[in-house]
Subunit: 326 residues, 2 copies
């Protein structure tokens, strides 16, 4: 664990010269080579904390994640990581386990860690969260939810949903149900529902459940027993899987008698079946976009307040891709 002084002495120069050598300042060829040799010999690495202390820049960002075992979160994280790796940024992670309090805690902890920026994979933007984000001096990017006062990267939920609604209409599904989630979730609960309604245009039945596959399954058993739908659009792939499971149990032929669709493009959906149509979001790209936007904000560059990501429709007929689930 040698420090800059050791190197300076061994190379017979002043430590400021070593510092310049390290940071691309002007150093003569001779001394450069001398220092080169010493650095290689000792395997010297500058102490990041001393650096950060001076520079007021840590080359670290924090990512706060609602659930570590979520497909969307994972993919987003992969995108973030790939961008950050290129420029030698480190990533700190905080898992909130869907707990709003922990979300705020995490933000504060990150602030005291003096990281350069934060990416928050959002679920619900509570007033407290908003206040906290405003209060801390660190730039924050929000992923997955929109808000007028924040910088965000979001999925085009409304348009995607509208397209899906229109798709079901085109395919003569004249008896449609939509299974959504609570409106406290702006993106998933509100935008997707309204999109489907507007795209489908005809009246349709609307149910509400949670993000849990099991809850969706229970609801599916009940609903499918009572009514003969020929199409069900679900707010998430996870819900779609629950409904699919219920349909199987009730010996309903999917997709022949009943078409099921979801949102997300989860791997599971395509493994389980080519039976579920899905609005596929590119979460990796989402992460990349968020990361690059954050970097710009860290460098005080202007960025648009909202980034809207594109989507693709993965029809049930065309799905025969198999991807890994490990």
């Amino acid at each position: 664990m040698s420090n800059i002084n050791d190197i300076a002495k061994l190379a017979g120069v002043a430590k400021s010269t070593v510092s310049r050598y390290l940071n691309g300042g002007s150093v003569s060829e001779k001394t450069r080579l001398k220092i080169d040799a010493v650095v290689k010999e000792t395997g010297y690495q500058p102490n990041q904390f001393a650096q950060s202390l001076k520079r007021k820049r840590t080359n670290m960002i924090g990512v706060v994640i609602p659930r570590l075992n979520s497909y969307a979160s994972n993919e987003t994280l992969i995108g973030i990581e790939s961008v950050m790796r290129e420029i030698n940024y480190q990533i700190l992670i905080a898992n909130t386990n869907l707990d709003t309090k922990r979300e705020i805690e995490a933000l504060k902890t990150f602030e005291t860690s003096k990281i350069d920026g934060i990416i928050l994979l959002a679920t619900i933007i509570t007033p407290e969260l908003l206040a906290c984000i405003k209060k801390i001096k660190v730039p924050v990017m929000i992923v997955g939810q929109n808000h007028p006062n924040l910088y965000t990267v979001i999925q085009n939920d409304y348009e995607a949903a509208k397209m899906l609604g229109a798709y079901f209409k085109t395919h003569q599904k004249d008896n449609l149900a939509y299974i959504g989630v609570s409106e406290t979730d702006e993106a998933v609960g509100v935008n997707r529902k309204h999109g489907v309604i507007d795209g489908y245009e005809y009246p349709l039945d609307i149910y509400e459940t949670t993000f849990s596959l099991n809850d969706a399954y229970q609801l599916g058993l009940k609903v499918l027993n009572e009514k003969d739908y020929n199409g069900i659009i679900c707010a998430t792939d996870n819900i779609a899987l629950g409904i699919l499971k219920a349909a199987h149990e009730l010996k309903i032929n999917v997709p022949k008698t009943l078409s099921i669709a979801g949102f997300g493009g989860y791997e599971t959906t395509s493994i389980v079946s080519p039976q579920v149509t899905t609005m596929k979001y590119d979460y990796i790209a989402t992460g990349e976009v968020a990361a690059r936007a954050l970097l710009k904000r860290i460098n005080d560059e202007e960025i648009p307040q909202i980034h809207v990501m594109p989507f693709t429709l993965e029809e049930k007929e065309s799905v025969d891709i198999i991807r890994d689930a490990t």
Copy 2:
């Protein structure tokens, strides 16, 4: 962004007194209250980098992960996170994307970040990796692979596999195949295979594939076309899913005519079907154990060199749990 000096001045004391206040040194009731007030007012938070610079301790650990979108990795990470959160440790993450070079890079980066310890979710322990681990001064815990010269937390692969082999024998599967992976992977490639062989005791056919669901699927189509097995044990749940998919395609009744088993306890397995028997590992607990062990090593406490995690057999008949896949 006030510093210790500001606080000291505002409270009318010396900064060393504030330091003591922060670190639980002896401070009189009077001055304690004074400082308390100022700290609350200013929202002062000590600068972690200045602290780390002095203390030679960063309260951060690094986790290097082969794949961010892997069930096992995610769960392990959750376990690690939960332990570290309790004691206010921060987690740095490096994703290697299964690239051995990046694994070593990550280790070095972590070292220069002066983190307190590293948890490495291992795939293959190459000589270079081993050399690197030995070289860096930071304590490293290896998860998932064993090695005589390292501190490890591993699954009981051999015994689990042996039990699974015995289980198939007991259930009169007299025509068994084992589909494994390359022996370069000690845990999955070697131990599971030998366990199955030893547990089953009778001769059985052995095939090799990769971790890819698609590869397993292709192999499944070929193998199941050629031979009539009534049992197939797969080295991972992912492979089992590929085989299951092939079996479905060939209209083979699972589990009636063909029993399929895997390892891991992936969520997908239980969603897809109650058809696949699986040796379930508790990855969250694994992460917790690794985290606690690392903390002990950071504090120079003695720990056993190997931690072996328990496993449970999840039989196809008893599986009716539904878990979430989001």
